[in-house]
């Protein structure tokens, strides 16, 4: 899953579609489009009565805390906090105009005087119509599906904040599918994914009030459900984090995302920032975070494509064993000279990783560090030396990171505990770079980037049997063998052997995962994201409390067959055609495990952890699995 090569998940700037949608690949898409049009229409209704204070020059946003918000979800959604928005100026709204809405219309919409008591009629009339979500995915469909089969042909995800002029009175802001907020315990805004933090000060105060009100009663608020929306809270001392989402992601996933967002902030500032709040509750930390907007927005974007964000594991660039060994050797060499960690990465994939003696890096820290490096443009232009904190290593202390890009995507990170280490680390980098150039490791990396990782089409046959040619649709495993002609008919565009579409394999001991490349029919960004969300959901359900050491799941829904196999050693998540045959799917999963074992020294970094003796368990099969009927 490429990090930057596709449009953003929840907030893509819609572009007019040059092509009509000739081949919708599933029936719900046109419906979505219609729904979206309906939503547009409903918002277009002019509302003259709300124009009374539209000329007010002051910029106002307002939330209101209702005394009984704790018990009544409806209040949150339909109360002042979420719902009040009206404007007569947005009649030109269309798919591409969402972010262009004028500010002056916003303040009037929450008109403090106008709506206070007298204008309930107008706002309740809108309650039913205006609350549809801005489904940017829908726009993507319009964009992408017309280009079905053309991977990543659309707009690149752009770093940084968009829609910065919005506030909580903007309809567009209210309709964003997924909001993230960071605020201080005094209610001062620190970060908002969308909109201007200062204009959202009133909203921020509302969030603080909700958290504090519940805290005052000796309790803690974790989650509020309000219709389709989930409001997830995370309190980290004086820092409050809130996610408001209607993406139907599991609570556990959203909470995990808030944890990562918090740790991303800690990576930049360390947790000793808490002391500033202890000394002075008024403390405003936004100046300390100046310019780091892109780091947060890029992390949030990765919540929609990077499995590392929920697997808590890292992934490696596929490389010949010897190549990775030679990269590892030179990294080990510099690590022995007093470098705490040496990481060689290509985009979000690891090439080599070495820690001094027994120091080990948590996969979350690797994710956050690489996100920090990749999202900050300045690292690309020159060698850099920056204080950073690894929250899972030591959240109170700064380390010093030397970062240097060796080519467009490949970068070296050297971490030291000494603030004077720049010249030493620079020397180390020169040594590493020389070795990598001489041994052509950089060339191999480039080639691997082009070649890609594991492709389901390449799944080796199971000991010569032609199980790949068995139609999964007919459900007669072992009997129906068709000629390759027939095979082509049955499998036109429906993936690999036995209808296998994709898989993710996570090694528990290695803290690593490998996921197959996207193949047909998972072509469009929308399909990839839907797949991602399915994995996320199934992962969460497999990791709910009370899970045994072995667990299997076979789930068939409208979109996929999902097959999960969780053992103490590894976890396999595989996605098949929704009509795939169960017995064949199980067989195929065993073949995938065998395949991973066969190529483990190319796809994993072995020997990076104390568990270097680890290999894929030899006897890979799902014996008990075939008997379970779900």
């Amino acid at each position: 899953m490429p990090p930057n090569s596709d449009s953003s998940d929840d907030d893509q700037n819609p572009k007019p579609n040059p092509y009509p949608n000739p081949k919708p690949s599933s029936i719900d898409q046109p419906l979505d489009v219609i729904e979206n049009q309906l939503a547009s229409i409903s918002i277009v209704q002019p509302e003259p009565e709300s124009d009374t204070n539209g000329t007010s020059p002051s910029k106002l946003t307002k939330g209101s805390l209702n005394e009984n918000f704790g018990g009544d979800n409806g209040n949150l959604r339909h109360g002042n906090v979420m719902e009040k928005s009206s404007s007569s100026k947005i009649t030109e709204r269309n798919n591409s105009g969402m972010e262009d809405m004028e500010e002056p219309s916003s303040p009037s919409s929450s008109g403090y005087a106008g709506e206070r008591g007298s204008s309930n009629g107008s706002s309740s009339g809108r309650a039913g119509s205006g609350i549809g979500e801005v489904d940017d995915e829908i726009h993507e469909i319009v964009n992408n599906n017309s280009l079905d089969g053309v991977l990543n042909s659309h707009v690149q995800w752009l770093p940084g904040k968009r829609h910065g002029s919005e506030d909580d009175a903007s309809i567009s802001w209210r309709k964003r599918k997924k909001h993230f907020f960071i605020l201080s315990h005094s209610g001062k805004p620190i970060y908002s994914r969308y909109g201007d933090e200062h204009k959202l000060a009133g909203f921020s105060a509302t969030l603080q009030a909700i958290i504090s009100f519940v805290e005052n009663g000796g309790d803690r608020v974790n989650l509020i459900r309000a219709g389709k929306h989930q409001v997830v809270f995370l309190v980290k001392g004086p820092i409050y984090l809130v996610c408001i989402s209607c993406t139907e992601e599991p609570y556990m996933s959203l909470r995990g995302q808030l944890e990562l967002l918090y740790n991303q902030m800690i990576l930049i500032l360390t947790r000793s920032v808490n002391r500033c709040f202890e000394k002075n509750a008024k403390f405003d930390m936004t100046p300390l975070l100046g310019g780091t907007d892109v780091v947060f927005s890029s992390l949030i974007h990765s919540f929609s494509w990077n499995p590392a964000t929920f697997l808590h594991a890292y992934t490696c660039l596929r490389l010949a064993y010897a190549t990775r060994q030679s990269a590892g050797a030179i990294l080990q060499d510099v690590a022995d000279s007093g470098v705490l960690f040496a990481m060689l990465m290509c985009k979000h994939k690891v090439i080599g990783l070495v820690g001094a003696q027994k120091a080990s890096l948590h996969p979350d820290d690797m994710l956050l560090l690489s996100n920090f490096v990749m999202s900050s443009e300045s690292f690309r232009t020159s060698e850099s030396f920056s204080p950073i904190c690894l929250p899972r290593f030591n959240s109170m202390a700064f380390l010093y990171a030397y970062v240097h890009y060796l080519d467009g995507d490949t970068y070296l990170i050297l971490l030291s505990t000494s603030s004077d280490a720049f010249y030493h680390l620079k020397d180390c980098r020169i040594r590493v770079e020389n070795v990598l150039l001489k041994s052509n490791v950089l060339g191999e990396i480039q080639r691997s980037m082009v070649d890609g990782g594991m492709r389901i089409e390449d799944l080796p046959d199971d000991r010569g049997s032609r199980s790949g040619a068995v139609s999964p649709h007919l459900g007669q495993p072992g009997h129906a063998t068709y000629s390759s002609e027939r095979f082509d008919e049955a499998f036109l565009g429906v993936g690999g052997p036995a209808g296998l579409w994709h898989f993710i394999y996570r090694s528990i001991y290695l803290d690593q995962y490998v996921s197959s490349e996207f193949s047909s029919p998972i072509n469009s960004r929308r399909q990839q994201k839907r797949l991602y969300r399915s994995y996320q959901k199934i992962y969460a359900s497999m990791h709910e409390e009370g899970i045994g050491p072995h667990k299997t799941l076979f789930k068939r829904d409208d979109n996929y067959v999902l097959l999960c196999w969780v053992t103490p050693d590894f976890e396999l998540y595989a996605v098949f055609d929704p009509l795939a045959d169960k017995a064949l799917a199980i067989k195929t999963c065993n073949r995938v495990c065998q395949w991973i074992k066969d190529v483990e020294n190319e796809i994993f970094l072995l020997g990076a952890s104390p568990f270097s003796w680890w290999t894929v368990p030899g006897n890979t099969s799902l014996p008990e699995f075939a008997e379970i009927s779900l």
């Binding site: 002051s58 209610g187 000060a201 504090s212 002391r275 500033c276 100046p287 290593f393």
Partner: protein, 206 residues
């Protein structure tokens, strides 16, 4: 995060119910007034951008409910305030007498680092009513109380007619800003993992 340095100031408005806290804010932010009384439930939050001496900053105004049943909102509401505005009705002696309670309650709950010098502003509202004939708290008396509490700035306002509202909030902003500035200087002091023997302790050694 704002690219340009902006300051956000948290301003809390306190006072008995019905003295006109919400109306004052409404007049200030929206230039609107309604005779209709709507009790604030819990608290309302507004923001207003203000220019002061070439600096742009944002007032985050916390309009609280005056009724006693909402006082349980407590410490969280007052935490980290940059300025506290105490409002009374010049036509109600009780609301004036209660200023003392409001002020003390605030200092207890917010526990600011320097309570002696925490910026308060007192507003005597509703001076327009009955042409001032129904007034029971004299300006002199109010000013005397303000002086006794460390020279709290005092304004006589009418939310209905907009009298002195802008001036009062300018003063509130100025005082809030002043109290904030002393604190803005410091950076978080961060630990250095330091000696080379130490760094492994944080790592997972399993």
């Amino acid at each position: 995060m704002p690219s340009r340095r902006r300051t956000l100031l948290k301003v809390i408005i306190l006072g008995d119910s019905g003295v006109g806290k919400t109306s004052l804010m409404n007049q200030y932010v929206n230039k609107k007034f309604s005779n209709q009384y709507k009790a604030t439930i819990g608290a309302d939050f507004l923001t207003k951008e203000v220019q002061f001496e070439d600096r742009l900053f944002t007032l985050q105004i916390w309009d609280t409910a005056g009724q006693e049943r909402f006082q349980s909102l407590g410490v969280a509401f007052y935490r980290g305030a940059d300025c506290c505005v105490l409002v009374y009705d010049v036509n109600s002696m009780k609301s004036f007498e209660n200023l003392n309670n409001w002020r003390e309650e605030f200092l207890i709950q917010a526990s600011p680092s320097d309570p002696e010098n925490f910026p308060f502003v007192v507003l005597g509202n509703k001076v327009d009513i009955d042409g001032g004939n129904s007034r029971v708290v004299s300006e002199k008396k109010a000013r005397a109380w303000c002086a006794s509490k460390g020279n709290i700035p005092y304004f006589e306002t009418s939310a209905k007619e907009g009298t002195n509202v802008e001036e009062a909030f300018q003063c509130i902003a100025k005082n809030a800003l002043k109290s904030g500035e002393e604190e803005e200087i410091y950076l978080p002091d961060t630990l250095d993992v330091g000696t080379s023997s130490q760094p492994r302790t944080g790592g997972c050694e399993c």
